[in-house]
Symmetry: C2
Subunit: 196 residues, 2 copies
C-alpha cells in the first residue's frame, strides 16, 4: 500500500464517523482537515472533492456494519439463526457503536432523498442489497424446510424487518433509551419466528 493509499484510507476512517453524525451538508472541509490533522492540499490531493470523501465514508460505514453482521451470520447454521442475528446484534449496545452516529443507510437516506441524488442512489443500492439478502435467507429457509412455504410474502417480510430495525434505531437514538431498541427487536424476532 503506497503512502497515498494509506493516507486516503486514513482520511476515510477519520471522517466516516463525522459524516455519519453531522451529515453531508453538516460536515465541512474544515471538519475534515481538523479531524485528520491534514491540510486541504492533502485532502484534495487524494480526493476529487467533498462528494468523493462523503461517498467513500458512506461505503466505509456500510462495510463496517456489514462485516459485523456477516461475522455473526456466518456462525449460524440455520437460516432462522442467520435472520435472528439482526435483532440479536441490534439488541446490544455495541452494534450502535460500530458506526458512530447510527445507521448510515438511515442517515444518508433521510438527508439525501430530496437533495443529493448521488448519495441517495448509494443508499438505495445498499438497502436493496440488504433486502435481497433477507429474502434469500427466507427462500433458503423454505427450501431447507425450516419455514413453511405457503403464506409467506418474502418481500413484505424483508421490508417489515428492515423497517422495524431502521425505525427502531431512529427512536432509540432520539430518546436515548436503548430499551426502546431492544423492545422493538423483540418484534423483529417475532416476525422471524412466525415464519415457522
Amino acid at each position: 500500500m503506497s503512502k497515498a493509499e494509506r493516507t486516503k484510507q486514513f482520511i476515510i476512517e477519520q471522517t466516516a464517523p463525522i459524516f455519519n453524525m453531522k451529515g453531508y451538508s453538516g460536515t465541512s472541509m474544515s471538519d475534515i482537515t481538523e479531524i485528520t490533522g491534514l491540510t486541504k492540499g492533502s485532502i484534495y490531493g487524494n480526493f476529487e472533492n467533498k462528494d468523493e470523501v462523503a461517498i467513500a465514508a458512506f461505503k466505509y460505514n456500510v462495510k463496517k456494519l456489514q462485516d459485523a453482521f456477516s461475522r455473526e451470520i456466518d456462525k449460524q447454521t440455520t437460516f432462522k439463526g442467520k435472520l435472528l442475528a439482526y435483532p440479536q446484534l441490534y439488541s446490544q449496545y455495541a452494534t450502535m457503536k460500530v458506526t458512530k452516529g447510527g445507521c448510515p443507510i438511515l442517515n444518508t437516506a433521510t438527508e439525501s432523498d430530496d437533495t443529493h441524488p448521488v448519495l441517495r442512489k448509494y443508499a438505495e443500492r445498499t438497502l436493496i442489497y440488504w433486502k435481497e439478502k433477507i429474502i434469500s435467507f427466507i427462500d433458503q429457509g423454505i427450501a431447507a424446510g425450516e419455514f413453511k412455504a405457503k403464506a409467506i410474502d418474502t418481500e413484505r417480510t424483508a421490508l417489515t424487518i428492515i423497517a422495524l430495525i431502521e425505525g427502531g434505531v431512529m427512536i432509540s437514538k432520539l430518546t436515548g433509551n436503548l430499551n426502546d431498541l431492544s423492545n422493538i427487536m423483540q418484534s423483529v424476532k417475532k416476525v422471524i419466528e412466525e415464519l415457522e
Copy 2:
C-alpha cells in the same frame, strides 16, 4: 391578526416544506428569502434567528400531519378503527404529500440527534406524545373489551407501530416505490389486528 403575525405565519408556511426537505443545516437564509420573496430585514424582524424559523417550521409540519390524522381518527368509533387510521392513511400517497419531504419527526430526528439538541428535544417530545397516544388507544380498547387484556405489552406495541411507519416512510422515500410503504402498512395492520 396583525400584519406582523400574518407575515410570520406566511414565512412559516413557505419555509416549512424547505426545512423538511433540505434539513436545518441544508436550508440557508437565502433559501428563506427566496421562497418568501422577502428580505433579511423582514425575516429577522419576525424571528430571532434561523433556529427560531426552523423550530416554528417543525412545529407547523407536525401540526399539519397531526391534524390530518386527527380528522380520520375522530371519524372512527372503535379504538381498533382509530389505530387502523395510521396504516390506512399512510397507504395512500396523499399522506406523504401533506408534509412535503416525508415525516418531520424522522427527518428532524436523524439530522439533529448528534448535532442540534434543541431541535432534537422537539422531535423527541413529539415522538413521545405520539407513543402515549397509541398506548392510550390500546388501553381504552382493552377497557372497552375490544382487545384482550393480558399478553399485550402496550409500550412495545406502540413502539413497533411507530418503528414500522417511520422505517416504511424512509424506505419508500428512498426507493421511490409506494408499494413498499403500503406493503409495510399491511404489517402495521396485522400488529393491530393481533390485539384482538
